[in-house]
């Protein structure tokens, strides 16, 4: 429970930070989220394991103890071991041998009922969840300390934007249709070929001969045949004609490789080539 309350407070803390320094990344990233979750799950598992261990030992103790042993412990009440004290404070129940004292007069088809107290640890758990709930509702919906989902999303996107910009700046700018060049390295072309087979062949044919989409090996181009044009067409797509945008799926480097691969296949003259479309482009 402690772990979950900590976790609950994470976005609150993030928001407090944001208030303090608006320009720094305000939210926790995915990896932090995962870490928090991992810690939380680990804590929960440990707690559950401890609980189970306790229950097993407690049960075993209660069950295997002979009546004599039980009487002895009762006699030695003054010198209860720490474990026994813990056990009785957690369970507050009579042992099966003494249970007649806690028997109710209820009887249903031979089933009788004991009047054992609610296990104190169970009560504590119940109260803790109630406290958690009150705090949770108050934090998010009365005091507005925590970010609700729209705000959480804005924070996530803003944080990512900063991270990406920092990375790109360190890397020295991104590839665009302005600065992209044809690559001729065999390894990069082969990567381009694989990307083509996985993503493009369905519409342009495995030999680039054109099927649903146009022929890519002839001299005719609908949206320009320079490497920059091809790069741009792949990245942004031509939605009106059914060519989707690939910018969410392919990195600029991957688009460069696949564009270069397409250019490398120019004039390969495959069988069943689709008729020319668009205007002639000479390289």
């Amino acid at each position: 429970m402690a772990a979950s309350i900590l976790l609950l407070m994470a976005p609150l803390a993030a928001k407090a930070q944001e208030a303090a320094a608006t320009e720094t990344a305000p939210s926790f990233s995915d990896s932090e989220l995962m870490m928090g979750l991992a810690i939380f799950l680990a804590a929960a598992l440990v707690l559950a394991a401890l609980g189970l261990l306790f229950a097993t030992i407690a049960l075993k103790g209660i069950l295997s103890g002979s009546p004599q042993a039980q009487t002895e412990t009762a006699e030695q009440a003054g010198s209860k071991s720490l474990w026994q004290q813990l056990k009785s404070s957690l369970m507050d129940s009579e042992s099966p041998e003494q249970e007649e004292e806690r028997m109710t007069d209820h009887e249903y088809d031979g089933i009788r009922e004991l009047d054992n107290s609610l296990p104190p640890w169970w009560k504590a758990l119940f109260y803790a969840t109630i406290v958690f709930s009150v705090v949770y509702m108050a934090a998010y919906h009365v005091f507005g300390w925590g970010a609700l989902q729209d705000e959480e999303y804005q924070q996530e996107v803003a944080a990512a934007k900063l991270e990406i910009e920092a990375y790109m700046a360190a890397k020295g700018g991104a590839l665009t249709e302005e600065n992209v060049e044809v690559v001729t390295d065999a390894a990069l072309l082969s990567e381009g070929e694989q990307i083509f087979a996985a993503n493009c062949a369905a519409c342009h044919g495995s030999e680039l001969q054109g099927t649903v989409g146009p022929n890519l090996v002839d001299e005719y181009w609908l949206h320009g045949g320079s490497v920059g044009d091809i790069f741009k067409t792949i990245r942004d797509g031509v939605p009106s004609k059914g060519m989707i945008s690939w910018k969410a799926q392919l990195s600029p480097e991957q688009i460069q490789n696949v564009s270069s691969f397409i250019i490398s296949k120019a004039g390969s003259n495959p069988p069943n080539a689709k008729e020319p479309q668009g205007e002639v482009f000479k390289r």
Partner: protein, 735 residues
């Protein structure tokens, strides 16, 4: 007071002077339900196995439309919930209620009507679901005539149960009966409210609610189907069969009281945890979170009362299969009810939702809690009713181990699958791109886990078959006691309250007040969540550009429902960067106001489809539906060749439009007459489009309507004002 003999001479009963009443218990109805439990259990689980295998071998349906995953997944869930567990509930209730009330069932005729009526309902589900008659609402897929039949049968059951309770020869109601009563009233309320629908033909209707409201009602129902069909009645059974089989007193009467009332009060609020980060108002989501967290202790109260009842007899647990099944059932209940609140925390749910994690979670509950408790109960009941010993303890032990291992083999791979897939969905490269932009990659990764899950499920089914053999042999070697003789002293007319009686005893001798009390308790949560969502406009902000579906799109949407696409595809982009990058703008409540029913889905075996419209050309969809692998190599989606043969049911168009208008969708007056012409116009536009890509298809085929719907999905909020309005589009009259 503490011995059995003394109890029989309590002043509450006439004794000594008066004769004991002699009567008999009806075992025949119990045997009928027990047999149905076994038969439907095996069938329901086999259908589940087929569905599991279809995810590994997508061509397994062999081109047969009636057994695609989308159509048999609801059959599996309905069969195991309402046929296996449902008959299991009736078996246990009909057996225990008579004995706890010291009377025969009120009416044998009603008992038999309940039995045969329920089996007919199941049979109708087995026929109609594969035919594609479905409302699409999970665990409530059955169409309106069957909904009415369910209501009638439930009332028959409730009437018979209540009349039996009223003629009882015991003063107080045992905790098992509190759970039976709570179950009866709550399931009635849930079923009736969620089934509000407007019929348009014999087997087709539209949900009364739309979008966000429909989602809230559905998951209020869906979650509480788990709570009040799979949990509370089974807790009642547990309270009878565990102390009986162990011959031990129930651990704590106080715990029974507090966990019963707390459980039924808290459970009903928890539905919104199925819609976390969805387009549901934040406050409703938060209520779902906190009430789920608060459910932990009351749920564990039931587990504790069951496990601690076994104090003093753990040596027998080693030897008696019945007790072993009960121990695993209670442990699984404890695990599932710990996991439930954890999955309801928003940051955990952000990872688990839409993945196989949920499937693993429900199967720990289903196979572990419901399955194992049912098996234990049957192993205990059948020898008793056949007045013999179990045919083979060894086989029962074999069943126990194979079932326990089967649960592990089922659940562990799916936990792994869920976690893996979710991490893959969320991973970004440093450039800020999705690391696995192709959804399919995150699916093919899971195939080995899906295969392992099918293996685990197969083991579990083998166990059920072993049990069926064992119980049939038990029946053969015994002789069935159809009417079990019993006797009990009649109750005195006036109750003399003993000194120092617990306050809760008051309601335990007043079944009517108990029923009304539980009804009030379960109504609170639902009302607090639903009434504001329905009445307060700010909960569903209007979006001006959202328009009703065209008649062709409406047909396409109904085909989407018929094929059960929503079983694998969500239409709910959550406000996460990993989802808006993959799918597009996240979902807004106002987008769904004309969606009767909502189709948000609960599982992404395939990608989300909310923003599918305009993403691919018509020809892509055409090829993809005919042969998914041609467009997405490695896809596990089945092909839908029949949609290229079947024709759109034009004759229902008018009824569809006017039903939608009755439900509040602003189609212009008299649009029914234009709808068919408009439909043709739009269909021909699509066929012309396809012809450009070299595809010749007639415009009256189902595939055309489906393409129209898929291309419309999620496009309304991107609509720019300058775009020309197509003649077939619906322009609501100044709304």
């Amino acid at each position: 007071m503490s011995t059995q003999g003394a109890i029989l001479e309590r002043p509450d009963h006439y004794s000594g002077k008066l004769e004991l009443d002699r009567f008999s218990y009806d075992n025949n109805i119990v045997r009928l339900f027990a047999t149905a439990t076994m038969v439907w259990g095996a069938i329901g689980m086999l259908v589940g196995l087929l569905a599991a295998l279809e995810l590994v071998f997508p061509g397994l349906n062999g081109g047969i439309e009636y057994i695609t995953f989308g159509r048999i997944r609801p059959l599996h869930t309905n069969a195991v919930i309402f046929a296996f567990v449902g008959n299991g509930i009736f078996t246990g209730v009909y057996y225990s209620l008579q004995r706890l009330c010291k009377t025969r069932m009120y009416s044998d005729a009603l008992s038999n009507i309940n039995f045969w009526g329920w089996q007919l309902i199941i049979l109708s589900a087995v026929i109609t679901l594969p035919l594609g008659y479905t409302s699409s609402k999970e665990y409530a897929e059955l169409e309106w005539p069957i909904d009415i039949a369910i209501t009638i049968m439930w009332v028959v059951f409730g009437y018979n149960m209540f009349a039996t309770i009223l003629q009882r020869r015991t003063r107080h109601l045992y905790v098992a009966i509190w759970f039976y009563i709570g179950t009866f009233v709550t399931v009635a309320v849930l079923h009736v409210v969620n089934s509000f629908e407007l019929p348009i033909s014999f087997m087709k209707s539209y949900s009364f609610y739309a979008g966000v409201q429909d989602a809230l009602v559905q998951w209020w129902y869906g979650h509480n189907a788990v709570a009040f069909f799979l949990t509370t009645p089974y807790l009642g059974l547990m309270y009878y069969f565990v102390p009986k089989a162990a011959n031990r007193p129930v651990y704590s009467y106080k715990l029974s009281i507090i966990h019963f009332w707390a459980l039924i009060f808290l459970y009903i609020w928890a539905g919104p945890h199925h819609l976390l980060y969805n387009a549901l108002p934040d406050w409703a989501q938060s209520l779902g979170v906190v009430f789920s967290v608060m459910l932990l202790a009351p749920s564990w109260g039931g587990m504790l009362n069951g496990l601690l009842t076994l104090r003093g007899v753990w040596d027998r647990v080693r030897e008696e299969p019945v007790l072993k099944f009960f121990v695993v059932a209670l442990t699984a209940y404890g695990m599932a009810t710990f996991e439930g609140p954890m999955l309801s925390l928003k940051n955990v749910n952000a990872i688990s939702h839409f993945t196989d994690w949920t499937i693993a979670h429900v199967h720990v509950g289903g196979l572990g809690w419901n399955g194992m408790l049912t098996f234990g109960m049957l192993y205990w009941l059948m020898p008793k009713m056949y007045q013999t010993k179990l045919f083979s303890t060894k086989l029962a032990n074999t069943h126990f181990w194979i079932a326990t291992l089967g649960i592990l083999f089922y659940a562990l791979p799916l936990y792994w699958a869920g976690f893996t897939q979710s991490l893959m969905w969320k991973e970004f490269t440093q450039e800020g791109m999705l690391a696995y932009p192709n959804f399919l990659e995150t699916v093919t990764q899971l195939k080995p886990m899906y295969a392992a899950r099918a293996f685990g499920g197969g083991m579990y089914i083998v166990g059920v078959l072993i049990m069926a053999y064992n119980l049939v042999m038990t029946a053969k070697q015994g002789s069935f006691l159809k009417n079990e003789p019993a006797e009990a002293a009649p109750l005195k007319d006036v109750y003399e309250k003993p000194q120092g009686e617990h306050w809760h005893r008051w309601i335990e001798r007043r079944p009517v007040q108990l029923m009304v009390g539980s009804l009030i308790v379960i109504l609170i949560g639902g009302m607090v969540e639903m009434i504001p969502t329905f009445l307060v406009e700010s909960n569903v902000p209007t979006i001006a550009s959202v328009k009703p579906y065209t008649s062709l799109e409406l047909h396409g949407r109904d085909l989407y429902i018929k094929e059960g696409c929503n079983n694998c595809h969500s239409q709910m982009v959550r406000p996460f960067r990993s989802e808006t990058e993959r799918y597009g703008e996240y979902a807004k409540a106002g987008e769904f106001v004309y969606d009767h029913p909502f189709l948000w889905g609960s599982k992404r075996t395939g990608p989300d489809l909310l923003r599918l419209g305009g993403k691919y050309p018509d020809s892509w969809h055409y090829h993809h539906m005919l042969d998914p692998e041609s467009m997405s190599p490695g896809s596990i989606m089945p092909a839908y060749p029949w949609m290229f043969e079947n024709e759109i049911e034009v004759e229902t168009t008018e009824a569809k439009i006017s039903a939608m208008r009755s439900l509040g969708v602003p189609y212009p007056e008299g649009y029914e007459e234009e709808a068919v012409a408009d439909m043709k116009l739009q269909a021909e536009e699509i066929t012309a489009n396809l012809a450009e890509s070299g595809i010749q298809v007639s415009s009256d085929k189902e595939i055309i309507a489906l393409i129209a719907y898929l291309q419309r999905l999620g496009t309304d909020i991107k609509a720019d004002a300058d775009k020309e309005v197509k003649p077939y589009e619906i322009v609501p009259e100044n709304k």
